[in-house]
């Protein structure tokens, strides 16, 4: 008698493979270089505005470019290295340098003209107020007589 072969055998790795695919999708566009992104960002969202702080030691405000397009905040700039490194012997080199770009998705559209930014002690603080027309609006319900 022929044994009936199961067409769909239970795959013990099915759950794990599914999880791996999910995680791969989420982290797909993150670089796997292992180096932390510069600058390091902290972000707080509120009903009225979003506040973002960035750790950018050794930078001058004139080297930083902040822009808001739709619901994305972009911080970019360049960390210049020392102008003359001739005659120097480095024993330790941990500070990073070069161009950097960081983008952050915002929860709502921003009033671009009221964005304020402050730079103190190497920390940039950007306050992004919510756009007027992106605030939740109460919709009045008309009662009709039946």
């Amino acid at each position: 008698m022929l044994l009936q072969v199961q067409e769909r055998a239970w795959n013990p790795w099915h759950e794990l493979e599914r999880m791996e695919a999910e995680i791969g999708r989420i982290f797909g566009d993150m670089g796997m270089s292992g180096a932390p992104a510069f600058p390091a960002l902290n972000a707080w969202t509120g009903e009225e505005d979003v506040v973002v702080t960035a750790g950018m030691p050794g930078m001058e405000p004139k080297d930083i470019e902040i822009s808001v397009v739709d619901k994305t905040l972009t911080i970019k700039g360049e960390r210049g290295g020392a102008s003359e490194t001739d005659g120097r012997t480095y024993h330790r080199r941990e500070r990073s340098l070069g161009r950097f770009v960081r983008k952050l998705d915002l929860p709502y559209r921003i009033e671009a003209s009221s964005v304020s930014a402050r730079f103190a002690n190497g920390v940039l603080k950007v306050t992004l107020p919510r756009a007027e027309d992106d605030r939740p609006r109460k919709i009045a319900i008309e009662a009709t007589a039946n």
Partner: protein
């Protein structure tokens, strides 16, 4: 044994302090050693630099800013402080170490000193 519940009155819960090792560049040229430490959020008021024998210690604290009514969604730089120590070589002039902090970076300059030169000691007859 009857279980007795003891409660500690007014116990303050202290969150562990996150102290990080700052990114540092160390280099030298003919005359000096240079040490640059990255400590965003630290200014000269919250900085403590000490030298003892040949151990140079840097300690900086950061005051975290609060945003009531907001929910934190990202926290990539949450240091409460920075700490690092350096052992200086013998041929350094510890009396003339300079330290300046600008935009969250501490720049230190340690001048090199000539090694102690040999000299003759006068002997007196007693």
């Amino acid at each position: 044994m009857t279980g007795e519940k003891t409660t500690v009155e007014n116990s303050a819960t202290v969150a562990p302090e996150k102290v990080f090792c700052p990114h540092t560049d160390i280099y030298e040229d003919g005359e000096n050693f240079y040490i640059e430490l990255e400590m965003p959020g630290v200014d000269e008021q919250s900085l403590y630099v000490t030298i003892e024998k040949n151990l140079l210690a840097v300690c900086g604290t950061v005051k975290a800013e609060e945003f009531p009514g907001h929910r934190q969604v990202l926290g990539e730089h949450e240091a409460d402080g920075y700490r690092r120590t350096f052992t200086l070589p013998d041929e350094t002039d510890r009396e003339h170490i300079q330290a300046t902090i600008k935009n969250g970076v501490l720049y230190m300059l340690v001048p090199k000193a000539a090694p102690a030169t040999a000299r003759r000691i006068e002997v007196t007859t007693g």
